[in-house]
Structures are given as structure tokens and as C-alpha cells.
């Protein structure tokens, strides 16, 4: 009796805790506006809504949902049929993502697929799509390995693969006048399939131009001994520090540099500085002055449709910030939309036609015009951003720039 009672208590307690936790997760999908009619076209995707990549995963879902609402408000995808997103959670787990895409294809019998978030998950998921001959446009998986497999149905809907993320900035550095050009560089990076290739790409360009590498080390998210790294950097005193980072370790790294009282001439970080107020709040507004970063999207961009997207996003989810990952997801859906509208089919047996169309055409998205090579690699260039007077600005390419000044150095003591 006692034992049974205890079992009940434990089960109840566990269930309560679990229920309390799960409460805040609402269902993905759901119909959008009611303007379109006819049987909905099902578009399936699995995203990491929980687990390690849950933050960007949730942002990506918002992006897909904004697109769903936008398309349906415009009268549907084709034949006046509305779109219905079917979104599953892969828990940031590779087994689950494979299971999810299999389920989307064979159980939910979706008409079209959209990709998941992060290279780690897109690698296995794209193989499922390829195997089932379904077009697979993915918003956030830039690792070069994805495109070395000769897939025919895979397309990446950002401007460039990860290894080219910093090309534009690196070229800008190498084109500086001789006396302003840095002589030495350091490359600490988080072990991450997006950050690392980005750094390798930058290092290749800088070292070709004669900028000597004095430090190149990788750390893991579990064990970011950033004080040790800062101390090592201080000892080597590089002119420029290129840091491959996600948000928290990016912030912690800047502060570790401050603690070690080491200020390189230039500081470039991946990802972290694109987090807007969150970033400046975490390291202090004045500390941001002059920090460079690579980014795919800004809410201020003048690309076609961007204003509408930003407005719709704010209407649906509130807040001032528009996550980059939501914009990327929206752009991926735009690519899919363009292909379907141009070819005029959602037939599961004719998806190769959609893929062929994408290979031959350029698509206008909120990230700018995108086009691809035969393997689905995008052929554009990432934007380069810089924090100036406490505000993130786009400085390169000139066509997209929001500020015509480029601060040549990091000024953590503040502007002026």
C-alpha cells in the first residue's frame, strides 16, 4: 500500500512538473487568413522548437507563419488554394528530424517541404527529402558540406554558404591602404559548423594578403575558458581579432577581453553582434563602438517586401526586434513560393521541375536577390554590419549600406 502510494505521488509530481513546463508551447501551424479558398496546400517542416537550437528554431517558425499568413492574405499559393503549414518539433535531435521528415512525407502527405534550422539538422533532413524527390529549400544550414553531396533538390536561401560569410569584410580589410592594414590576426572560435567555416574563409583571404595568423584555437560551448583565451591573445597582441561566436560566448568573450585589458585594433564577430539591443545591453553600449559582424538581414533593409514583412511580423508577434532567423525562414518560403508559382505545380512527382527552375532563375527575397549553382549553393554575398554610436548599421555592400562611414577600429571606451 505504502509503495503504491509513493508511486502515485512520484508519478503525479513528475507529471505536474512536466505539465507546468509544457504549458507554454502552443501548437505550430494553424490556418492563416480566410481570403483564400479551396483545399489547403500542406507545407511541412520540422524545426528545433526545443533543445539546443530552440531559440532560432522558434524564430524560424515565426518566419514561416508570417509567410503563411501573407500568402493566404494574397489569395493562396496557386489555384486559389491557401497554404497550411505543418510544423513538427525535432528537439534539436538528428534522429527526430529524420523521423519528422519521414512522417511529413508518408503520414501527413504534405505537398511541399521547407527546411529546418542549423546545418547539423539540415544534413540528415535534406537526405530524406532528396531520397523522396521533394524540393528542399532550407533557411539556415550554411555548412559547405551540405552542398558537396551532389543533391538535386536542395537549396540554401541565404546569400552565401558559411565559408563565404565574411568574404566581403575580409576583402575590405585587404584593400585598406598599406599603413592602415593590420599585420597580424587571431582567430578564436566556437566549435560550431557555422562559425568555423566562416572563420576559415576569412583567414584564407587575410593570410593570402600577407596578414600573419598568430593565434587560431577552437573552444567548445561546454567549456568556454575565455579568460585563458583572452590572456593568450594579450600575450600575442594581434592587430585584428576575428571571433567565431554565438550570442552568449560572443558577449562573454568581449567582456573577457575587457577584463584582460586587451584591445585589438579591429574586432569582427559572427552572429552575436546581430542580436541588436540584447548585444549592446550585455556588453555595454559604448563597448560596441566599431565592432564588425556578418549578417543576412536587417529590419531596415530596403529589399522588396521587407517593409511588409517587418510590419506583419510586429503585428503577429509584437516587439521591436525582428530576429534574423525569422527573416531567413521567410526568405526560404519566398523561394519555394516563387518556384511553385513559376512552374505552376505542387505535384509530388514533378518537384524536379521546381528545382530545375530555381537553378536557372534569380528569386527576389527580403534578403535581396538570390541565385544558386547546380548544387544549391547560393551565389551572393553576406552583408557586413558595424556598431556605430550604439546602433547596428550595414556598411557593406554599398548598395545595401545604411551608413556611409566605416569606423576603422574598435573603440571600446566609446565613440569620440
Amino acid at each position: 500500500m505504502h509503495k503504491v502510494f509513493r508511486l502515485l505521488v512520484v508519478v503525479l509530481a513528475l507529471a505536474l512538473m512536466a505539465a507546468a513546463g509544457c504549458g507554454d508551447d502552443d501548437d505550430g501551424g494553424g490556418g492563416g487568413g480566410g481570403e483564400a479558398s479551396g483545399e489547403p496546400i500542406k507545407v511541412g517542416a520540422s524545426l528545433p522548437l526545443t533543445g539546443e537550437f530552440s531559440e532560432p528554431g522558434k524564430a524560424a517558425r515565426q518566419g514561416y507563419e508570417v509567410w503563411e499568413a501573407t500568402v493566404n492574405a494574397k489569395g493562396g499559393l496557386i489555384d486559389g488554394r491557401p497554404v497550411q503549414m505543418v510544423i513538427k518539433d525535432d528537439q534539436s535531435n538528428q534522429n527526430t528530424v529524420v523521423a519528422d521528415y519521414n512522417a511529413l512525407i508518408s503520414r501527413d502527405r504534405v505537398d511541399l517541404l521547407l527546411g529546418t534550422f542549423s546545418s547539423l539538422l539540415n544534413l540528415p533532413a535534406s537526405a530524406v527529402a532528396e531520397r523522396n524527390r521533394m524540393l528542399y529549400v532550407e533557411p539556415a544550414g550554411g555548412a559547405p558540406e551540405l552542398f558537396d553531396r551532389g543533391f538535386k533538390y536542395l537549396f540554401f536561401a541565404q546569400q552565401a554558404t558559411a565559408d563565404h560569410q565574411g568574404d566581403l569584410w575580409a576583402e575590405w580589410v585587404t584593400n585598406l591602404p598599406e599603413n592602415e592594414r593590420p599585420k597580424t590576426a587571431a582567430y578564436p572560435t566556437l566549435d560550431d559548423p557555422f562559425a568555423r567555416p566562416a572563420l576559415e574563409g576569412i583567414e584564407a583571404i587575410l593570410s593570402d594578403a600577407g596578414i600573419k595568423t598568430v593565434y587560431r584555437e577552437t573552444y567548445t560551448i561546454d567549456n568556454p575558458n575565455l579568460d585563458g583565451i583572452a590572456s593568450a591573445l594579450k600575450a600575442r597582441n594581434p592587430d585584428v581579432v576575428v571571433h567565431g561566436a554565438t550570442f552568449e560566448d560572443g558577449v562573454a568573450f568581449v567582456r573577457a577581453l575587457r577584463r584582460a585589458n586587451f584591445t585589438p585594433d579591429m574586432l569582427y564577430q559572427t552572429s552575436a553582434p546581430s542580436f541588436g539591443d540584447q548585444y549592446s545591453g550585455a556588453i555595454g553600449k559604448q563597448t560596441t563602438e566599431g565592432i564588425f559582424y556578418g549578417v543576412s538581414h536587417t529590419k531596415e533593409a530596403t529589399t522588396p517586401g521587407n517593409k511588409a514583412f517587418v510590419a506583419k511580423y510586429r503585428e503577429m508577434f509584437g516587439g521591436q526586434e525582428v530576429p534574423e532567423d525569422a527573416a531567413d525562414a521567410y526568405a526560404a518560403a519566398q523561394v519555394l513560393e516563387a518556384a511553385v508559382k513559376a512552374v505552376g505545380t505542387i505535384d509530388r512527382n514533378r518537384q524536379i521541375e521546381l528545382a530545375d527552375w530555381l537553378r536557372e532563375n534569380e528569386v527576389d527575397t527580403i534578403l535581396g536577390p538570390l541565385r544558386w549553382d547546380d548544387a544549391g549553393r547560393p551565389q551572393g554575398e553576406f552583408l557586413v554590419g558595424q556598431w556605430q554610436s550604439g546602433v547596428p548599421e550595414i556598411i557593406l555592400p554599398e548598395a545595401a549600406a545604411t551608413s556611409d562611414e566605416i569606423i576603422p577600429e574598435w573603440r571600446p571606451e566609446g565613440a569620440g
Partner: protein, 294 residues
């Protein structure tokens, strides 16, 4: 040379915090022969609570220790009585699996409440340091190390000067004997577990300032702590302190001279080397059960 000294100092500072965290784990093992795999999860939980307090009311993480310790103590006491106590007569493997299950469950709970992204607590002094010539001593590390020493010292006082401390040590050496002289082994075990969890709470508050953390970080932490107590000798409190300082220094030396990506491996290397060369650790005799039971 500066680089070496810098690494040594940073290593010793972080080692002090490790010592506090490992002391709870080794205490629990010494008294009840339970390897508490959930220790890392407790400390991450404490770090998240510290983060929330800091976010909500701007409470300094080191001041949060005063709030956290009693809460974690109560949590530990309840958890012991609800889960570990009923299986205390089961084979030792049961408690390992049970605490492992608790760790996973806690990881899930934390993921639900705080999300699965990195968090860190950044008080004012987070980006500042004391400077001594070429060397820098980050204020967060210095304060953290000092608080860890204070908490450890009070733990040591409790263990040596109080009736509870004597009962705990008696239970560790000879549970049956302790029962004979009127020590209730079960309630001593519950209190020990609670003290262990409370020390993880204090350590978690400090750790929240030092490293960014996410729910999944507890694996790395438990690996570190296990490496420490294996090196120091399982069940030995002084051994845990020595092991912790060794690990702190070894990690920083690895970061400085080998590469930060290998720092994660230091505790695993400890485990393998110790088991091959000196299975009882520096100050312990209990690791090899064949020696203990034969």
C-alpha cells in the same frame, strides 16, 4: 612567464570554486556511497535561479547565495526522502541510475523554464579586473574564489565542530557503529545530501558569473566534478580540494599551451590516468571496491 603565471592564477581561482562544488559530491559519496550524477544539474539549477533573481530584481549573484543555500538545502532534503531513501538498500548501481534520471529530468525542466540557450549573469564588476603589473585578476573570479573559500570553511567547521558533523563523519566511517551509538543513519544521510545540494547551490551561484551556462551544461560539470573526486580520492574532503585546484590549473594550462578545445578533456584524462596508475586517488582508499570489501 607572464602567461604561465597568469594561467596559474586563473586556474587556482577557478579551482577554489571547483573545490566547493566537489566537496558536496564527495561528502555525499563518503556518507552514503551514492555517486550523485545529478550534482551538475543541481548546480546549473542554482545558476538559473541566480540568473532569474539577477534579472528580476538585480540581486548580485554572490548575495544570491544567502537565498539559494536554504532553498537548495530544502530541495535536497525533499529529493533525498522522495527518491533516494526508498532505494537505499538496493545495489549501488540503482542510485547511479536514479540520480542520472534526476539529472535528465532536471535538464528537461530547466529547458522548459529558461530555454535551451546559453545564459550568463553579468554583474557590474563582470568586465573588470584587478591588475598587478602585467597580470590581471578578474574581479568575478576573485570574489567567487573568496566566497567559495568562506563557504568551504564554514562547511569544514560544521563537519568538525558540530554534533551533526560528528554524526556525519561517524556514519561515513562505520554506519552500523554510528547507529549503535544513537545516530539515525537515515536522517544523517538526508541531512548530508541536503548539505551537498546546498553547497552545489552556493557553487552554482558563483559559477553563473564565471561561465555561460545552459541546461545541457550539467554534463560537463559533472564530468569535471567526477574527475576531481576520482583524482582526490573518492570520499575525501581534503582530496576534493586538492583535486579541484589541480583540475583548475590543468584546465588553464591546457587552454594556454595545448588549445582550448582540449580543455574539456582534462577531467576524462584524470579519470583514465588515475584508474590506471593509482586507483585510490591522491588521498582516498575507497575507489577500488575490491580493496574496500575484501
Amino acid at each position: 612567464m607572464t602567461e604561465f603565471l597568469q594561467a596559474l592564477i586563473l586556474g587556482l581561482l577557478i579551482g577554489g570554486v571547483y573545490a566547493l562544488l566537489a566537496s558536496g559530491l564527495t561528502l555525499i559519496f563518503g556518507v552514503m556511497n551514492v555517486i550523485n550524477i545529478a550534482h551538475g544539474a543541481f548546480l546549473i539549477l542554482a545558476a538559473f535561479i541566480t540568473w532569474s533573481l539577477w534579472r528580476a530584481i538585480g540581486l548580485d549573484p554572490l548575495a544570491a547565495i544567502f537565498a539559494l543555500t536554504p532553498v537548495m538545502f530544502a530541495f535536497g532534503w525533499l529529493l533525498y526522502n522522495a527518491t533516494i531513501r526508498p532505494i537505499r538498500r538496493a545495489p549501488p548501481a540503482a542510485s547511479v541510475l536514479l540520480t542520472f534520471g534526476l539529472a535528465l529530468f532536471l535538464e528537461g525542466i530547466m529547458g522548459v523554464i529558461w530555454g535551451n540557450t546559453s545564459h550568463s549573469v553579468r554583474p557590474e564588476y563582470f568586465a573588470q579586473s584587478f591588475e598587478i603589473g602585467e597580470l590581471f585578476l578578474p574581479k568575478a573570479q576573485v570574489y567567487g574564489g573568496l566566497v567559495a573559500i568562506v563557504v568551504l570553511a564554514s562547511l569544514y567547521l560544521v563537519l568538525t565542530r558540530s554534533w551533526l558533523g560528528r554524526a556525519i563523519r561517524a556514519s561515513a566511517v562505520n554506519p552500523q557503529g554510528a547507529e549503535l551509538v544513537g545516530v539515525n543513519a537515515v536522517s544523517v544521510a538526508a541531512l548530508t545530501f541536503a548539505i551537498g545540494v546546498a553547497s552545489a547551490g552556493a557553487g552554482g551561484a558563483i559559477a553563473s558569473v564565471l561561465y555561460p551556462f545552459l541546461p545541457g551544461s550539467h554534463y560537463q560539470w559533472i564530468a569535471r566534478l567526477l574527475g576531481i573526486i576520482v583524482l582526490g580520492g573518492m570520499g575525501s574532503l581534503p582530496g576534493a580540494v586538492i583535486g579541484a585546484l589541480c583540475l583548475g590549473v590543468a584546465e588553464l594550462m591546457t587552454v594556454t599551451y595545448i588549445g582550448p578545445e582540449w580543455a574539456t578533456g582534462v577531467p576524462y584524462a584524470f579519470v583514465f590516468i588515475v584508474l590506471l596508475l593509482r586507483p585510490q586517488g591522491i588521498l582516498g582508499t575507497r575507489l577500488r571496491q575490491d580493496v574496500a570489501t575484501a
